[in-house]
């Protein structure tokens, strides 16, 4: 296990100053996520336009460096993407974390891929995987307009 891989500068920086915090203007989708193990919560706000493009994405919530960096990076990468692209990116992210697969998305440029891959260090810390994935599962819930709060203990 390697702490340096987990706590890369980019993670620490996003954790300290997360982007897109607060309620975005004119949001029309939202979802909540909860990790009962630590009590961390995330609330996503998302504005989807008529062409199914995510115009804005923001969050409220508190958490550890990993979960804050994850949600912060997610909001940056997903903003401006279309609904289907967002889902593809999410699958690529979860595959990276859970199945150790490389990020091969056509919807991300190299810089964006590097950003996303900075979260891959979490693979070596099984207890922390949920910190990284909570906001992504919550994003799905927001896109699909599910009513129930996402709970990390109830995700397969």
């Amino acid at each position: 296990m390697d702490l340096k891989q987990l706590y890369q500068d980019i993670i620490l920086e996003h954790g300290k100053s997360p982007r897109n915090k607060g309620k975005c203007k004119g949001y029309n989708h939202e979802a909540k996520g909860y990790n009962p193990l630590c009590g961390d919560k995330v609330h996503l706000y998302l504005k989807l336009d008529n062409n199914k493009k995510i115009e804005s994405l923001s969050f409220e919530g508190e958490g550890c460096a990993i979960s804050l960096a994850s949600v912060s990076i997610m909001t940056e990468l997903i903003k401006g993407k279309f609904f289907d692209e967002a889902k593809a990116i999410m699958n690529a992210f979860l595959n990276m974390i859970k199945n150790n697969l490389e990020i091969k998305s056509n919807h991300l440029d190299d810089d964006e891929k590097t950003k996303l891959m900075s979260l891959s260090g979490v693979k070596q810390f099984p207890m922390r995987v949920k910190c990284a994935t909570l906001s992504w599962h919550t994003l799905i819930s927001a896109l699909d307009q599910k009513k129930d709060e996402v709970n990390t203990e109830e995700i397969n």
Binding site: L3, Y7, G39, D40, I66, M127, R128
Partner: protein, 406 residues
């Protein structure tokens, strides 16, 4: 007292965690086990195994006797009057549920009030919540102050003619507050209200005398007291056990079973339905022997020394904040580091072989009161040394370095 000699009785400290010697500071969660306890469990399965109770054969007689010996040891250890007042459960949570269920069934009606405190572990809140749901009972929370002390005068004010039971912890698993249980029992008994005490954290770390406390119910677990998992203890005054209905139904708890009628065994068997954690209960006797071999007062003195040392060392690290400052504190230290989430602290410390806990420690009411989501917690056991605290503090400094907070 030679702590290294005591520590050497715990085989787990021979192993490395992430290449480092194990520094175990999670005893409030569960304690490590001395070799005598591990051997006893192994030996029972190898040479003595039998279920207890009905069988006539020699192995069954031996196991039944040994099971009873633990009951007597527990009775003596907490100074109960009768061994029948000691009931084995699977854990302290089940012990509390046993009382909330049977007492609730018998005595709680709609609108009746139950007083607990803001310090309680979820296991001394959720079972009472069930009565709030099923019986429309009311739960009142005795408040605590910033130090983590229960405000006794405020608790007094909560008592009304509808108060049916008071349930309190003896020792907080977050702040280490040692609660003046005896004083609360006196207050409650003046109004003829019974008191249940959650003694999970207290039994392995402070002197517990249920006769002196005069509490009605006292629950604790074996695994936090250097014993195996699967053993919980409920002490209940005889006068209550004579009145309360049974809890779980099945074999061993009955007297006679007919198609139209069932009569129950007397206590404690009435509350020990089905096959019990036989091997674990028998093994738990060895845990009590272990504690007695050290001597409770020696144990308390040692843990106090390490706790005070930890508190002093923590004060030297600027960004560390200790949560709570109770009048009477045991070896449980919850803390936060400004700018670092407790989960990140726990992950970084783990790399150094330091086991602490991070989260809400099953005390969300407390954390909400203190405006916190989570804290990190170091908790002391008999095997901890000043060196452990030094390694912890170096680990905390490493957290601060990684997060570049200096």
């Amino acid at each position: 007292m030679d702590i290294n000699k005591i520590k050497s009785q715990f085989p787990i400290f021979a192993r490395k965690i992430n290449g480092k010697p194990l520094v175990y500071l999670d005893s409030s969660n569960s304690s490590q086990k001395p070799l005598s306890v591990i051997n006893r469990l192994n030996d029972f399965y190898k040479n003595e195994f039998s279920n207890i109770g009905r069988s006539i054969h020699s192995l069954a007689v031996n196991a039944t006797n040994k099971f009873d010996e633990t009951r007597v040891s527990v009775k003596n250890f907490i100074n109960a009057k009768f061994k029948e007042e000691i009931i084995f459960t699977k854990n302290a949570t089940e012990a509390i549920n046993l009382i909330s269920t049977t007492f609730g069934q018998q005595y709680i009606k709609e609108g009746d009030e139950i007083i607990i405190t803001e310090l309680e572990h979820h296991s001394n809140y959720v079972p009472w919540h069930f009565l709030r749901e099923s019986k429309k009972a009311i739960i009142k929370f005795a408040p605590i102050n910033e130090d983590g002390d229960i405000l006794i005068d405020e608790l007094k004010k909560l008592i009304t003619s509808k108060t049916k039971i008071i349930a309190i912890t003896h020792l907080s698993n977050v702040t280490g507050t040692i609660v003046p249980v005896k004083e609360i029992v006196e207050i409650a008994h003046k109004k003829k209200i019974p008191v249940l005490v959650d003694g999970c954290q207290s039994v392995p770390h402070i002197n517990v005398d249920v006769s002196d406390l005069d509490c009605d119910f006292y629950a604790f677990s074996g695994h936090k007291a250097y014993g195996p998992t699967g053993v919980g203890v409920l002490y209940a005054k005889k006068k209550w056990l004579e009145k309360l209905p049974p809890f779980i139904g099945g074999g061993a708890m009955i007297s006679e079973v007919k198609k139209d009628k069932i009569t129950y065994a007397s206590f404690p068997e009435k509350y020990e339905a089905g096959t019990m954690p036989t091997a674990e209960v028998i093994t738990f006797n060895e845990s009590i022997k272990f504690i007695k071999s050290i001597g409770m007062n020696n144990l308390i003195e040692h843990e106090k020394k390490i706790t005070n040392y930890a508190l002093e060392e923590f004060k030297k690290i600027n960004s560390v904040k200790i949560i709570g400052n109770p009048k009477n504190k045991a070896g449980v230290i919850a803390f936060t580091i400004k700018g670092i989430h407790p989960h990140d602290i726990a992950t970084i410390l783990d790399e150094d072989g330091v086991a602490i806990r991070a989260g809400h420690h099953c005390c969300q009411i407390f954390h909400e009161k203190m405006n916190l989501t989570a804290t990190a917690r170091a908790s002391i056991g008999i095997y901890n040394t000043k060196e452990d605290i030094d390694i912890l503090c170096r680990g905390i400094e490493n957290c601060i370095k990684i997060f570049n907070l200096k």
